[in-house]
């Protein structure tokens, strides 16, 4: 489709733009409606996009923030491998290679070229998390060190050819999963979503004609690009840096460095990850495609966050990472926990740009998904095996005119909800005795970082636990004088003789009566703590977000037993804090 500029009116363009967005939503609705496994239709671990004939995004709908704009790359890589003529009417392709798609092998990309009157006019593409793709452990592993342990790896492969399913290939997929039945169901749901995209796109083409749709596309891309150029141009030119560390690679390595340099030159932004750690033995590596997505998430958080994404978006953004680093991993690097590095990367970009975008950034959040698995058999249900998988919420960073939020899910997740105590206790032989906000864990500041949480699991039956808690080496930092937050900590049998602390563990066997207390970190503070209105400090004490001692220590606000502010002592203390800073 070639279009001449200026041959389209703004009304038609706007109707077509809205239609592209709606088509992506309809594809998403189809996928969610027909997926088999809850991780897709409830966890929303999926994304869809409608692409043009060259693989540029016309409309997209992401279930997870991290799935922002990572489908077009799959089409383009396929064309790079086999040439554009590889796409034929009725084809559907599958791929999950971590180094190509960028995420872990569970994330399965399925896309179909769309043809109209014999010409390729676009693609419908989907990605969804499949429960099991044949890793050495069910679902995936916490201790893998080679991609081969994480499942079967697929380069772009036709699962439909000329409109017919390739039964041999689909059978191979099914046989290599512990949940083959659901896998095929989810695959069919993705194919159905592609079909929805195809049918809906065809109706738009029928109504407006190819040339008009192409002209609208070019105009839509131009509009998006212009709006982003204007936004990036408004950021002062310069080179901005930030760095932080993952605690380890999951297999006991030293801290893993993440280094970010953001260059702003005119209306262009370049994010260079040179200086970040070489790919690790443990599974915290990811493919370059997903690194690009993560940088786009950070970019989106700062530039026009509410605007939909299309092929004109991100044209002002360039991402670079050295080959063989954790962000551009090569075979055989393990990738199962790829998002830990990316969560930190997403936090570091606002940090780098804080000095030039002080109103738009926030201090760091608690950092990672903080996952606990509890596995065992349930004696209440005839020793039926169970596996409880939970990410955990924590504190978010403060910003210029607001406190960070308490107990919120991390940046690479979105709509995730904690499991209610009542539901958990009905499903699993565990009593969740305590669940609450962790006082004094938010970083102090003019605006306060959000607080982390604690959650106490009392085992009514023996169980094996797995933990993936992160960000103790680089806890959530503050900005502009705001303080860093308290890091996470997991305690086994707190207060007992056999009390132990740990953050990551694989298959730790525990017995009846044992207690696991998970504790997540807070978010960083923003601005100097002594600038916080003493009345707000007092209110936080009344509400229990900070303690009386914390108010005095971190904010220089002295409260008596009745929680009245001791003005004289507070002023003296604050003056001393300021002088020492």
């Amino acid at each position: 489709m070639a279009a001449k500029p200026g041959d389209i009116d703004p009304i038609t363009t706007e109707i077509i733009r809205n239609a592209f967005i709606a088509i992506a939503q309809d594809m998403n609705a189809t996928l969610i409606r027909s997926a088999y496994t809850p991780i897709i239709y409830e966890g929303k671990d999926c994304s869809v996009a409608l692409l043009d004939e060259d693989g540029n995004v016309l409309g997209q709908s992401a279930g997870l923030p991290l799935f922002l704009g990572n489908l077009e790359i799959c089409v383009k890589l396929t064309a790079e491998m086999y040439g554009w003529e590889v796409f034929q009417p009725g084809d559907v392709f599958y791929m999950n290679d971590a180094y190509m798609t960028g995420t872990h092998l569970n994330d399965s990309t399925i896309f179909a070229p769309i043809f109209s009157r014999g010409t390729r006019v676009g693609f419908a593409a989907t990605r969804a998390h499949w429960l099991d793709v044949g890793a050495k452990d069910p679902g995936g592993s916490m201790d893998s060190h080679e991609i081969y342990q994480e499942g079967v790896r697929w380069a772009p492969t036709r699962i439909y050819e000329g409109g017919k399913p390739r039964k041999d290939i689909i059978d191979l997929l099914r046989r290599n999963s512990r949940f083959g039945y659901g896998l095929v169901g989810d695959m069919n749901a993705q194919v159905a979503a592609c079909r929805t995209g195809e049918v809906r796109f065809q109706s738009v083409l029928d109504r407006f004609g190819h040339e008009t749709v192409a002209a609208a596309r070019d105009e839509i891309f131009r509009q998006s690009e212009q709006l982003e150029r204007e936004a990036v141009l408004a950021i002062a030119d310069g080179s901005y840096n930030a760095e932080g560390y993952l605690d380890n690679d999951g297999l006991g390595s030293p801290p893993v460095k993440v280094r970010v340099r953001v260059d702003i030159v005119g209306d262009q932004m370049t994010v260079d990850l040179d200086g970040s750690a070489a790919q690790t033995y443990g599974p915290v590596n990811c493919g370059f495609a997903q690194t690009i997505s993560a940088v786009r998430v950070a970019f989106k958080l700062l530039v026009n966050p509410k605007r939909p994404v299309d092929g004109g978006t991100f044209r002002t953004l360039t991402v670079q990472a050295p080959e063989g680093s954790i962000f551009r991993a090569t075979e055989p690097a393990a990738c199962q926990w790829y998002f830990s590095s990316l969560g930190l990367l997403i936090d570091l970009i606002p940090r780098a740009l804080a000095s030039v975008l002080p109103q738009k950034v926030a201090s760091a959040h608690y950092g990672d998904s903080m996952v606990i698995y509890v596995a065992g058999v349930d004696p209440r249900k005839g020793n039926a095996p169970y596996l409880a998988v939970e990410p955990t919420t924590g504190g978010w960073g403060a910003y210029h005119d607001g406190d960070g939020q308490d107990a919120l899910i991390n940046n690479v997740n979105g709509g995730f909800k904690d499991l209610p105590v009542e539901v958990y206790e009905n499903k699993y032989p565990v009593v969740l005795r305590r669940y609450g906000l962790r006082t004094d864990t938010g970083g102090a500041g003019r605006t306060r970082g959000g607080t982390g949480i604690y959650r106490e699991y009392h085992l009514d039956a023996p169980a094996t636990i797995y933990l993936w808690f992160e960000r103790s080496v680089t806890p959530a930092w503050g900005l502009f004088g705001g303080k860093q937050a308290v890091p996470p900590d997991v305690i086994i049998n707190p207060g007992r003789a056999d009390e132990r602390h740990m953050l990551k563990v694989n298959a730790l066997a525990l017995k009846v009566g044992d207690v696991i207390r998970t504790q997540t970190g807070g978010g960083g503070g923003y601005g100097s703590p002594w600038e916080r209105d003493p009345q707000r400090v007092r209110a936080d004490v009344v509400d229990g977000y900070i303690s009386r001692a914390g108010a005095e220590r971190d904010y220089g606000v002295v409260l008596d037993e009745t929680l009245a502010i001791d003005v004289a002592r507070s002023e003296a203390l604050r003056a001393a804090m300021q002088a020492a800073a």
Binding site: Q405, I409, E422
Partner: protein, 670 residues
């Protein structure tokens, strides 16, 4: 003696009335809402419309008193009591983010500050075993706090109370005896379902609006009684049923969405009366566009909803709101033309209202194209400023190099396409095909856009009901008394104890019958609808499945697979299925009769009024009919405008319209 059945829908600006005289003749009325005491507006309307208030035999109303108190955050201060160890479950609010890309995200604002959440020792396990007995001494500081800080309302939510409410019941005894006159809400009495945050949130909402709704209902009842109205007052519930004022005083939270559901109930009545099983109802007002579905003659009722991000566990007619309405604003960026979702709202409103609006709205575009007449609104009591509208449209059109007519038609085309896209997505989510539906358009702006929506969606038939502007009030006259009862029942279907389930249903049945009896429903008018929330083992969300009175577990399981297939596009026969909740809707039939329309016109009216309305860039001489003058049966060709007090219907060229025997406008493509 004449008998009157009257409904009143108290909206933000107007209170709408529909009066049915002797179950045959219907008329409507409108008065300004009196926000400080809505009962006054209701009384005023009743006095104007009903000659003798003593002849009212049924009075139902929909109220936004509770909803407005919530939206404006004017409710009562609430102290929340929760189980020791998990009081923060309310403040944590499950930790999800409702926006994917927001570094400066803010959680929905809760109704109870953390400082007002108190914990009491007393821990029940999942199976009712007592891990720790209720420590009654822990209530002493709570009683003290309520007294010293002057809380008018207390909500109590203990873990597992959905199944084991004893501790909550004891809590009420203790609190009520120490704190006479304080409003006390127990979570299990509002929502008998698990999930402590959602249940606490529901209980808090009830406590938050209880004192205000109570005052209002008492005032209304006293005043209508004083005027001689001697019937039980009914209130519309969010579930689409009605309840008596006494029941509403106990559970005011059920009245929260009392107004908007009237439209859906109206669609169901329309579906039954006219024999159309599948309808998409669209209610387009000034700022929002509400879509509801009637599938196979039944409304979509969900057991959970959210208001401003706060969850509520209660039966609610599912209405989806899209940010598009008459007030949607046109705006420009980067050479692009956009319409909405920003709205001019009530103030300043569209340019043509002359209240300071400068950017053209959808209403302005309709006026500019003369689809809407300068005298069309409120039966001509409000004159629209056509010159101001024309100037505003000209200014913006010039910036994108469009002529004014193209710009105005473009605004409508963009809006209609967006609304149609939104409806299409809803149908995809539900797995239904819009082509098998009729489109019912009501609300002030709905009938102006309906034909274009139908065209975009390939819907063959548009129905504009009688009194589209007071359709919600009409719907309220068409409903039943309703009580929804729920029990948590978490058991695998395989090997389920049939008598156990039957026992729970009988219990709910009896409870519902008692509630209906208290509302003076005769035993012969009661009926009960059983259902179960079920899912495949391992799933989190449930599908609601109808259960026959003669329980057959195998049938129920089959029905679940079928319902799952409809909802999600697939089923897994043979996979393990479990029950989560058992539900009974207890309903009481209210006497009513179908009212056939009696055309008032002789059918010979000569049409004289015309406007030069614009369609596809061409101004055409378009007849303007007054709805009451349209004779029954005759077929009219578009272009055509039908006006009435509360709405304007547009039939463009290529479509024709007729009036059916119930007084509905039926529009088809030629």
């Amino acid at each position: 003696m004449t008998h009157y059945r009257v409904s009143a829908d108290i909206g933000g600006t107007f209170t709408d009335f529909v009066v049915m005289e002797d179950n045959a003749h219907i008329y409507t009325g409108k008065v300004l809402t009196t926000p400080e005491n809505p009962a006054l507006g209701v009384l005023k309307g009743l006095t104007q419309l009903v000659p003798n208030l003593q002849e009212i035999e049924f009075l139902v109303h929909g109220t936004t008193v509770g909803l407005n108190a919530f939206l404006e955050r004017r409710g009562s201060r609430v102290l929340l009591v929760m189980t020791e160890g998990v009081g923060d479950a309310y403040t944590i609010a499950r930790g999800d983010r409702k926006e994917l890309y927001a570094l400066q995200y803010r959680k929905p604002q809760l109704l109870v500050e953390r400082r007002a959440v108190h914990e009491v020792r007393g821990r029940v396990k999942w199976d009712g075993a007592i891990l720790e007995p209720l420590h009654e001494e822990d209530f002493a500081p709570i009683v003290e706090a309520v007294r010293s800080e002057g809380f008018p309302a207390v909500a109590v939510c203990f873990l597992h109370s959905y199944a084991y409410p004893e501790h909550e019941l004891r809590a009420r005894e203790i609190l009520a005896s120490a704190l006479p006159g304080i409003s006390i809400t127990l979570s299990h009495e509002i929502a008998r379902e698990w999930r402590e945050y959602e249940r606490a949130s529901s209980a808090v909402m009830n406590a938050y609006i209880a004192p205000i709704v109570e005052r209002y209902l008492v005032s209304l009842e006293e005043q209508v009684r004083a005027r001689g109205v001697d019937v039980t007052l009914h209130v519309m519930q969010s579930s689409g049923g009605v309840m008596t004022v006494d029941a509403a005083r106990r559970q005011p939270v059920y009245t929260l969405l009392s107004g908007p559901v009237g439209g859906t109930v109206g669609c169901i009545a329309l579906s039954q009366v006219t024999g159309r099983p599948n309808l998409i109802g669209v209610d387009m007002g000034g700022t929002s566009f509400d879509v509801s579905l009637v599938v196979d003659g039944r409304p979509e009722i969900t057991s959970e909803t959210q208001l401003e991000g706060l969850p509520l566990l209660m039966s609610v007619v599912n209405i989806r709101t899209i940010g598009a309405g008459g007030g949607s604003l046109a705006w420009l960026e980067a050479g692009a033309m956009r319409v909405g979702p920003q709205s001019a709202g009530a103030v300043p409103g569209p340019v043509c209202y002359g209240q300071g609006g400068t950017a053209p709205t959808v209403t302005d575009a309709n006026l500019f194209l003369k689809r809407l007449g300068a005298q069309s609104l409120l039966g001509g009591r409000m004159t629209l400023d056509e010159a101001a509208t024309a100037a505003a449209i000209h200014t913006m059109a010039a910036q994108v190099n469009l002529d004014d007519v193209a710009f105005a038609e473009g605004m409508l085309a963009i809006t209609n396409a967006k609304m149609a896209d939104a409806i299409r997505t809803i149908t995809v989510e539900q797995g239904i095909d819009p082509r098998q539906f009729g489109l019912v358009a009501f609300g002030g702006a709905g009938p102006m856009h309906a034909v274009w929506l139908a065209r975009e969606l390939n819907i063959g038939e548009v129905i504009v009901p009688r009194f589209p502007g007071t359709f919600s009030a009409w719907g309220m006259l068409q409903t039943d008394v309703r009580h929804d009862l729920t029990r948590n029942y978490y058991f695998p279907v395989a090997g389920v104890d049939r008598t156990g389930i039957e026992g729970v249903f009988m219990e709910l049945h009896a409870e519902g019958a008692r509630a209906l009896e208290a509302e003076q429903v005769a035993a012969g008018d009661m009926y009960f609808v059983r259902s179960a929330d079920m899912r495949y083992v391992g799933q989190e969300y449930t599908v609601n499945v109808g259960v026959a009175e003669q329980l057959d577990v195998a049938d129920v399981e089959q029905a679940f697979h079928a319902a799952h297939n409809t909802r999600y596009g697939h089923a897994t026969p043979g996979a393990p299925v479990e029950f989560v909740n058992l539900r009974v809707a207890a309903l009481g039939r209210l006497a009513r009769k179908e009212s056939r329309f009696r055309p008032q016109s002789s059918g010979s009216s000569e049409q004289t009024a015309h406007r030069l309305a614009v369609f596809d860039g061409v101004a055409r001489k378009t007849p303007v009919l007054w709805r009451d003058d349209i004779p029954l049966g005759a077929v009219w060709q578009g272009p055509l405008v039908v006006e009435e007090d509360s709405a304007t219907t547009i039939i463009p060229p290529g479509y024709s319209m007729r009036l059916d025997e119930w007084g509905n406008l039926i529009i088809h493509a030629d």
